[in-house]
Each structure stands twice: as C-alpha cells, then as structure tokens.
Amino acid sequence: MGVAVFASLGCAGGDGAPVTEAPTVAPEDLSCPGSTLRAVPLRRLTRFEYQNAVKDVFGVDVDVKALLPRDEVSLGFDNQAATLSLTDLHVEGAMQAASVVTAALAVDPAPLRQITGDCASGAECARTLVDTLGRQMMRRPLLEAQSERLLVLFGDDFSTEGFASGAELVVASLLQAPEFLYRYERKEAADALETGLASPWVLASRLGFLLWGSLPDAALLDAAGEGRLGTAADVEREARRLLSDPRSRRGALHFYEQWLRLSDFDEVEKDGVLFRIWSPVLRADLKEETRLFIEDVLFEGDARLSTLFTARYTFANARLSDYYGLPIGDPDATELVKTPFASGVPRAGVLTHGALLATQAKANQTDPIHRGKFVREQLFCQIPEPPPPDLVVSPPRLDPRKTTRERFSQHRADPGCAGCHELLDPVGLIFEHYDAVGQYRETEADVPVDATGYLADTDVTGTVDGVLDLGRRLSTSADVRRCVVSQWFRYAFSRGETSDDACTIDVLDQAFSANGGDLRELMVALTQTAPFLSPAPAPEPEEAP
C-alpha cells in the first residue's frame, strides 16, 4: 500500500517531483473516462460516523469517546481505510454502545414507533421494524436471509413485554452487524452496466458518508429504490439536497477540523503560570469560534477558500473579545456572535484564530518549526525531508533574554539543519506576533516582534510580513488550491491519491479554480468524479499475514 502521496520538499536529496501531471481533461468532464481506480480495504465506520448514524436513526447521543477506542489517524484523517484497525475493544465497545441505545429506547421508544408506523399485528410490526430499520442501517434492503434471521431473533412473543424484548435484540444486533459497522459495497446484479455507475444503494451510502458523515436518510434510500439515483445528474441533485440540510455542516466541519489540525486542539497543553488567561472555558470558546466561523463561510457566506484565509470578522463573546483585544460590548455575553474587525485589528481568517495558533505552538513558547511544517504539509501538501540519521537534533532552548527569531537563527546556522529548516522556520516565523496561546504581542524579550519571513519553493514565493500578508498570498496560490483538492480527495475516498488519480485531481482542481475556489461546489464536484460514481474495483490482494 505504499502510496506516493506527497510532493516532497527538495531540501535533502528529494526528487521533488510532483505526483500528478499536467491537466489533460476539460473541466466540465469530471468523470475521467478510462482512468484506473484503486480499491480500498473494507473499512469500518469511524467513531464520528458511528455516533452520527446512531443519532440520525435513533435520536440517541452515544458517547463514543468513552466507548470506542480512538480511530487511527493517517494523512491527517481518521477515515483512512488501510489504517483503521479493529480489535476486541471495538467488539466490546459496539456491544456496550448497543446497550446504551437500547436502554435509551426502553425509556423512550418513540423512535422505534416512528419506524414501525401503523402496523396491524405484532408479527407485522416486527417484520416492519426489521425491514425498515434494517434498510436504514445497512443502507440497502436486507437480504431475505438476513430478515429471516432477525425475525427468529425477535421471537414470537408479541405481548408488550415480548415485543420490547424482541425489538431490543434486533436493535442491538443491527448495531453490531458487520454491514452496519463496515462500509461494505455489495456488488449488485443491477450494477448499472449501461451507465457504468455503482448501484444506487452504494451511491446513496457514499453521499451520506461524504456529506453528512452518516447514513443516507430515508429520502435518499427511497430515491435509490425508486430508480431516481441512476445518473450522475441524480447524484448531483441529491448532493445539493444533502448540502442544504444542517447535517452537512457537521460533515464538512469534520473535514476542516482535521485538515486544519484543530482536532488536536482539545489535548493541547499550556503552561498555566506563563499564560494565566488560559482556561478550559477559553479553550471551549476558541474551539466554538472556529467552528462557527467555518460554518459561516461555508454555509452563510461565499464559501470561498480565500475567505477562510482573509475574512475580517470572527465570532466572539465577552471572553474572546477580551482575549483578542476587541471592544467588549456586554461583559456578561457568553454567546458567540459574528463580530467584524475594525481596521487595525491584527487578525484575518482562520490562520489567526486562537485555536489554530495555540495548537501549532508549545506549552511555553511558540513553535516556528511546527508552524512552518503546518503550512508546508497541510496547505501546500509538501513533506519536509528527514534530518540525516544520527544528527543530534536539538531545537533551541527557551531563553527569556532572546527572541524566538534569534534562538532559531542560531539553530539554522548549523549546516546540518539549515537545508530543511530554511524552508520551515522562515515560514513559521511569520506567525511570531502570536504567542503560544495565540494572543497578539508587539514585543518579545523587550524587542519589537519581527514577523517577516520567506516562502520558498511555492508558486507564491517571496518575502512575507505577518500572517495577514501570508493569508492574502495563500488566497492566490494555485498550489494551495490544488492541495485543498488533494486533502478533500483523501478524506472523501479514505485513501491517499496516487498517480492513477492524476486526472481526477486535475479536473477537480480545474473545476475548483473555475468557480473561484468555491468550497461548497468542490464538495458537489467530488460526487461527480470517477472514484465516487464508479463501482468499487476488485480489491487488490494483500500480502498474507
């Protein structure tokens, strides 16, 4: 599964060759006819998907973090098929999550009644429950054998108590069934050979997971069952419907929080003595701020990539206004509201959000290396080359008498470090106005902060002064735009892109560029590509264990 994912930075002998080649297909054709598709291993649901699925079907909030082990993260995403593992912890966790759901349903069975609807007899109600719930959770009608098996499990006691007990067993079984836990795409006899598209059930499922991080809803499954999900145009229509539903906010945020590394923010540690402002409530507000901002850009605003990097507003309450040095209106206001920046406020877009800045910093100091690495890896999709083996790698120590820039310039004077760090540190130093908790500072070690830096080896190469300047530059970069496409590709298809995907990346990039970097349209465009629309290719054999 060695996948050539990254363009590497050519600092220590890397060939620096990009993975993909020049565009070859017109942007209006996203399907790349004739391109080779890669199979991914059978992939289980992530915690995020499991939680959403249970919420959407049963209206029950399951604390998956307490019940299921962490999802393995690679390429920055929690849904990479080759990386996700399954062990007895998942088996136990699914069992216990099922108990949580059935316990909630025992208290309030309304969601189950809604599923059975009007049914005349106990036996009929049981059948309806099995088939309706089964279709929803398996994302396709149950096989007859599956239905029969579940009805046997249900039993034939249709007294009130017996029905409740049977329903509990069916719900718990479905919640642990492999076709619920895995994103299995069954080969259908009806796999539309004429159109070359995947079966409507598979398309419905892919739409649900990509845009909502969850199961398809009943309307989508109805469309699949009634022959209204058989063309790319049908898929686009349903994609737009899903994007107009609030659940798409949840789905999109899950991508952005991972792409921008904000999923690490919850566990970031700060030195409480150096940074007295740091507190659990501030952390919660900062996290909420970024969520609200991204949602606003995507679903209320112009959805432009450039807006993410340059917007002159955020969401703040009294605490955040204090943190950001914005005018405080009502000192008791806890709710975050849209707050424009007056001219002179040194903030613009998500790169100046406290959550992002604090994540890309150490407990007691800023972190130019990792801030530079963040820009390279996440925004330009470049990966720095390794330090030579056995080099004593010693980042500069904290020294209150020196500025960060001074300390890191000594470190870059070391010829063993300079090659790569010339590409990292001068980018990270652009963020120097923002301290380890993301607060603005005019001075460090009694010297005015110098936030100039240099962005080399990109299509927007040049001297940069501060993050606002950097944001403007990123907004115009074709490299960044293409990187966003690649990141979405990885998230959407649960794998890294390979040279086989060059055409798909190219056409997405062209479409994304043609519509001015519209991130909502990019989500729609993803549903029109070959890997989305085509039947899953036959899996590649794995080496025997």
Binding site: A66, A98, L398
Partner: protein, 437 residues
Amino acid sequence: MTSRRKLLHGALAAAIGLPWLEAFGSRPARAQPPGSARFIVMFSPNGTVREQWLPSGTETDFTLSPILSPLEAHQGDLVIVSGVDQQGAGGDGHQNGIGGMLTGGGLLHGNFAGVGAPPAGWAEGPSVDQRIAEAIGRGTPFRSLELGVQVGAADNWGRMCYRGKNQPLAPREDPARVFDDVFGTQLLPPEERDRMRARRQSILDYVKDDLGRLSSEVGAADRQRLDAHLTYVREVETRIAQQLANVNACTLPARPGPTPEGNDAFPEVGALQTDLLVLALACGQTNVASLQWSRSVSQVRFTWLGIDESHHGLSHLPDDDAEAQDALTRINQWYAARLADLIQKLKSYPEGEGTLFDQCLVLWCNELGKGNTHSRDQAPYVLAGSAGGALETGRFLEFDGDVPHNNLLVSLLQTMGLPDTTFGRPEWCTGPLAGLI
C-alpha cells in the same frame, strides 16, 4: 438494593458506567492458585541517559546506577541487560523503535508521515507478548490486557503490541472503563448476569453468522479482516462466559472515579492502571499484560519533578547540556520508581508458597537508547521476576554491543516455557541471549 436492581433492569444490563459499584468498598483481592507464569511489559519513552543508567560491578556483585536506584529494594529480583542493540526499520527512529521493540521486526509501508522519514505503517509481525499470550493466555478471560497511560493519538508512534502483521492493539486508557470491562460482570446480581449472558449470546450468534455470510462474499484481503473480526467476537464471547463462570473468584477494590485529565494527572492515572493491571493478573483475568506509559515522542511535562519542558524536547538537547541531562536522569529515575511500584504491588498478593511476583517475568523497555540521536543501540532493558523460577535473578549482564535485541526476545519466550528459537526478522536474530537463561 431495590434501586440498584431497578437501574440494572432490562436493557441496561451492561457493565457500563456503574458508579454505584463504589459502594462495594475496598477489600484485598484473593489470588488464584499457584503455578501459572505471567508476563508483563512496561514501556517508558524517549531513550535514557546511559551513563546514569549503567550499573557498575560484576554479574552478581553490582551497584545500581542513579537511574535504577529506586529499584534497590528489589535488586535481587532484577536482571539488568546492557549493550543490546534494538533493531527496527521503516519510518523514523521513534516509530520503528516502538514498532520493533517488541516485534523484532520492521514497519510496513504506510501513511504515517512524521518529521524526518518516508511514511510508514504498522509493524510487520506479532509482538513478543502476543506470542506468549498465544501460548499461555487461552484459559483466561483476557488473552492479554493492554493498558496505557495518556497514550494519545492512535498511530504507529503509540503502538507497541501487535496481534500480528498489520494488527496493532490499542491500549485501554481509562481506568474506570478497565475496571468495568474486567470486573464489571462480577458485580451484577445473579439474575442480571444470567439474562445478560443469554441475550449477549443470542446477539453474538447473530453477529458471527452474519460475519461468516459476509466473509463468503468478499475477496481474500477483506476476508482476512472479517475473519480477524470473527476471531475477536469469539474471544469476547469466551470472555463473557469465563467472567460469568468465575464470579466471586476475587474480591475487588472500589471502582476508580472519572479519569483525571491533563498533563499533571499522568502519575495518578498511571498508578490506577498499575493497580488494575496487578489486580487483573492476581484475579486470573489474564496472564499477559502491558503498561505503556505515554508514547514514543512523549511530550509529558514532569511538572511534579519541577521539570517544565517536555520530555521529548529535553531528550533532543545535546549531551553537554548538564541541566537537560539532569532532568532526563530524574525522569528515567521516576519511571524506575514506577517499575518498583509495580513490583511491590505484585509482591503484595500471596500466591502459593510465595507471591504473585514470583510467577511473573517483567520487561521494562524503551523505544530508543538515546534521545538526541534517535539511536536504538544499547537500549536499556531491565527484567524483573523469575517466571516461577525459570530465570536466575539478581544479575547484571553486560554485552559488548552488536547483539540484536531479537535475541533477548527469544530468551523471554524460552523463559516463559516456549520452544521458540527465533523471533522477528530472522536476519536480526542469532538465537537466545547468551548467558541469560
């Protein structure tokens, strides 16, 4: 009693979040019959300070080093192994260090991209604890029990135990949850246990059938995944049966409260996990256990030792930075004290003529030898316990380098009574470690 029964009634008959169990209070556990050897791994990260770690003296007459001094009370129970080179391949030094430490193998290709190396995946083979579990873990509810302390992200910097190639085992990190999973069913009233057992069995039967059916539909690679899933379902099934059959074999302490969070809770969480690990061994819940303190590249700040910089940051500072070397010495010393704590707790459970500890073999290991070079050479290994008399203890074994650690892994297997003569990559293994057994 009434309210408890009411709460447990019906659908809630699962051992999840049972805070009222705290009412059971603290009583010492009763150890299981003698004769079964146990294997334990304790991991601490980021390399050591060799000069402060290395004991002085001869094999049987030696003085513990500053780092190992907290183990003085147990010196006669130790075997210090110096001069063995830890093997590893793929990924960066921390990655292949923790991945190869117990597997004696390299990392597969994959997508975990760190600073400084081509992306790598999971390990290419099983870890030594799992090989041992295969041999001695079958009769217990848990074939093995992996516990961790603030392990963090689920990636190959944070995984040391592998069931097999590409099959990482995630450690359990929440003490309260560990308590429930390992001991929860014992505390249910008998009628609830019976009901739960019957219902879970029906559901698991369904899941097994469905997995089997699906397995017949998919290609070979996916079938391997589903078959592994089925194996885990069967293990959980056996676990439930064994747990319910062994009710009252052991008396239990109070259930831990909510797990404290944050850097400064590291020692507290670790102490709870140590208690639970020892209890699980003493109560016959498992014969093979591991305790993973943090992860490779651990960023823990040892504020309780007055050290504010992160462990990993300190581990990268140069050898001539006296302040950093002192901090690193104290950090490793602190981990040695955790091993002493583990040993002490194992000794507190009587078993047969002696204690639980007498039946144990403990390995303390590290993914690196030296932090600032990422060198895996001369990695610090400490063994404790004789596994029921199989290993002669109270020794300091010094090798001259160039001895692959796979040899140590083979010797561990042999100490545990396994017939194996090689482990991990064959080219990294030249047989058992000379003179150990």
